[in-house]
């Protein structure tokens, strides 16, 4: 999917100016509140019109101020998942799901109710009224509804912001599966770096009504490491092994990790901040931290006034951050061996 915007819009004192083209199936739009993300997206969906410019999808112009072209919202085939589900209260779940499907031209109806309902696991909800659903169920129905309209682009405007953490990471797999299974390109908006990294390939970062940059999610995370006091968030898939002395033991690659998590699920996603990893040049003989990993440095990068140290540990990858002076003191460079110490309490389970 190719999206191209060369347009400007004035909103009171706020001015949006964009000139970019982005290609891909999983595109992200990242930026703080008020940066213009929702406005930009509004231009693509058709809920707002630019003052001047052109908006195109897959080479086809859907708005062109010079030609006076403005394709109405209902004809653009751009689906939208909002922060809140906005399900139609007077229709039951099934009719909500089919609302867009019915209005889709027959030749475009490739996605069927049964398949979507299967992927989202909402068969048992079909005949229910929408007010009897939990938050997660409602958001899943909302996603299903948007997908069933067979859009050529799905825009998701902070679809996870309204959910609590455990719910968020339950929904994310549904989101990914649905779009992968039905091959729907999407534009994912969030202010959460973690969500961006999981959901997207290319990310456009937006600030003050302009596109500040276009890069992969990973590159974005690294570049932001120095600014964020949470540093770079390592996302680790840990497989549960057993309990020992009040701690949970997990498999991670070839290594064992001790974490003070409380999950007995076979596999969970954990986050570990780069700031919580302490590096040793030599093996410290005694240390209070329960985790000590032998790693090899694969890359060193700059971010702000910090250095990110990318390491390979037992087949998996980890990034720690240190100040420049510390890197010099330890003589850290690519290829050397280091020991990474991590407290059991530093791991936080995501979902």
């Amino acid at each position: 999917m190719e999206m191209s915007i060369n347009a400007s819009k004035q909103f009171g004192s706020f001015r949006l100016e964009a000139d970019f083209t982005v290609t891909g199936q999983r595109i992200g739009l990242f930026g703080p509140s008020g940066s213009g993300k929702s406005t930009l997206v509004g231009l693509v969906v058709g809920l707002h019109q630019p003052d001047h410019g052109i908006v195109s999808l897959d080479g086809e112009a859907i708005f062109d101020s010079r030609k006076g072209l403005n394709l109405p919202v209902e004809q653009r085939r751009v689906g939208m998942v909002f922060q809140r589900p906005h399900l139609f209260p007077h229709l039951n779940v099934k009719h909500n799901l089919l609302y867009g499907h019915r209005r889709c031209a027959p030749e475009n109806r490739k996605i069927t109710l049964d398949s979507v309902v299967g992927v989202l696991q909402i068969e048992h909800l079909l005949n229910r009224g929408v007010s009897n659903l939990s938050g997660g169920e409602r958001q899943r129905v909302s996603i299903g509804r948007a997908v069933l309209s067979n859009p050529r682009l799905l825009i998701m405007d902070e679809p996870l912001s309204g959910l609590d953490d455990s719910l968020k990471f339950q929904i994310i797999p549904f989101l990914k599966n649905v779009c992968e299974t039905f091959q729907i390109p999407y534009l994912f908006i969030s202010h959460s770096m973690i969500e961006m990294r999981i959901m997207t390939d290319q990310v456009l970062s937006v600030a003050d009504g302009r596109i500040a940059g276009q890069m992969t999610a990973e590159e974005l995370a690294r570049s932001r490491m120095g600014e964020s006091h949470a540093g770079y968030i390592n996302l680790l898939k840990l497989k549960y092994s057993h309990r020992l002395d009040g701690l949970h033991v997990y498999h991670w690659g070839n290594a064992h990790l001790f974490a003070s998590g409380s999950s007995d699920l076979p596999e969970s996603l954990f986050e570990l901040s780069s700031t919580d990893i302490i590096l040793f040049k030599r093996h410290p003989e005694a240390i209070s931290a329960r985790n000590l990993l032998q790693c090899r440095v694969t890359d060193v990068f700059e971010s702000g006034n910090r250095l990110g140290i990318e390491m390979e540990c037992g087949g998996e990858r980890l990034i720690a951050e240190v100040v420049r002076q510390a890197a010099e003191d330890l003589g850290i460079e690519r290829g050397i061996k280091v020991y990474a110490a991590i407290k059991a309490t530093a791991f936080r389970r995501l979902g």
Binding site: V45, V73, G79, M80
Partner: protein, 228 residues
């Protein structure tokens, strides 16, 4: 039943007939105006708002008189439209319906607008992204979600219509069997020294109908809550 004459019975039936007809013909217009006022921006919006609310603030006899000027023999609409088509409205039950509809119209529009204003605009945006054009939107989203306002407006208008007197007597006259509704019949009895018993009897009928309408409205409201 204290000796109701056939004329009295026809007054009761006529009241219900006029109020019901006025409500039914006002519904599409009321809905349209409420929709325009709630969801569309256009020049002259304020003017429309003033016009629609005018009958609410004017004395009904003034409304009746204005209608008479418009629709009567010398009236502009009469000369341009009605007389060429051979339509006579003054002093017919149709005039009673028109008078009732005009006087009650602002009540209906207000109620429907109140109902419409509670509709989350995101729902409308969502339906558009799902492929619904503006008319589709109106029928499948706005109409069902404003049904409470529509019902409230209809009941209010019907009740107001049952009691309409001032405009009706001017533009439809007091014609037993044709335009004499309950209020007009009561008026005639009240003017007559021996008419107090009948006036009271008709008052009771009027009160009974009003109570029935209000109970119906309550019941409908509960039905709606149950299906939510």
């Amino acid at each position: 039943m204290p000796g109701f004459t056939p004329t009295d019975y026809s007054a009761i039936l006529l009241s219900i007939k006029v109020a019901t007809t006025a409500t039914l013909i006002s519904l599409p217009f009321g809905f349209t105006v409420a929709y325009l006022m709630t969801f569309r921006k256009f020049r002259g919006r304020v003017v429309l708002d003033v016009f629609v609310n005018l009958p609410l603030t004017l004395p009904p006899v003034v409304v009746g008189y204005l209608l008479l000027l418009l629709l009567g023999q010398q009236g502009w609409i009469s000369k341009v439209l009605l007389q060429p088509l051979g339509i006579k409205l003054i002093f017919t039950w149709k005039a009673a319906v028109i008078a009732t509809a005009v006087v009650g119209f602002p009540l209906m529009v207000r109620s429907i607008r109140t109902g419409m204003e509670t509709i989350d605009i995101r729902l409308i945006q969502a339906s558009r992204t799902l492929g619904a054009g503006w008319f589709d939107n109106v029928i499948t989203i706005i109409l069902p979600l404003s049904i409470r306002g529509i019902i409230a407006g209809s009941v209010l208008m019907f009740a107001r219509g049952l009691g309409e007197f001032g405009a009706t007597i001017i533009v439809a006259g007091n014609i037993p069997g044709v335009t004499q509704t309950i209020p007009l019949a009561i008026y005639e009895y009240v003017s007559s020294p021996r008419g107090d018993v009948m006036a009271m009897a008709l008052c009771c009928v009027s009160i009974t109908i009003s109570i029935a309408v209000l109970i119906f409205h309550e019941w409908l409201g509960r039905q709606m809550i149950r299906t939510d």
